[in-house]
Symmetry: C2
């Protein structure tokens, strides 16, 4: 089995309300000098594919079809 | 400014219903040979701290106090 790490973030320019909320909360907790916060998802997926290139391609297809909303999100796939 | 990447995952043994749901959905989409799927959060936080070690310590404190529920989640902090 190969472990893939699929990381999904909102595309640049897409509003990130979670990030904004965390920025404010960190400030309220007394953390000074906090800049932008961006929040994404990360998924570790075990696939029954030993070849790294084919496993990565499989992960990219999973991301395109399910794990990411490619209209507003971008993703990366790497070996975990 | 330094960019930190804080990654948060459920601790081993903690139920991951999102992961289970994604496993099933990938199977339903025809992806054969999918093993375990674990889902976590990833946050990129800009901090006004140039020293890498101090920035990392700051990120760890942010994770302990806000970004992770350390009862059921574990986290890592690295330079983004």
């Amino acid at each position: 089995m190969t472990k893939l790490k699929v990381t999904v973030f909102p595309k640049a320019g897409v509003l990130d309300p979670q990030g904004k909320a965390i920025e404010r909360a960190l400030g309220n907790l007394g953390f000074a000098g906090v800049g932008e916060v961006r929040v994404g998802k990360v998924m570790v997926v075990e696939v029954n594919e030993a070849d790294p290139a084919r496993a990565k391609a499989l992960g990219e297809e999973m991301a395109r079809r399910l794990l990411a909303n490619t209209v507003i999100e971008s993703f990366t796939v790497e070996a975990a």
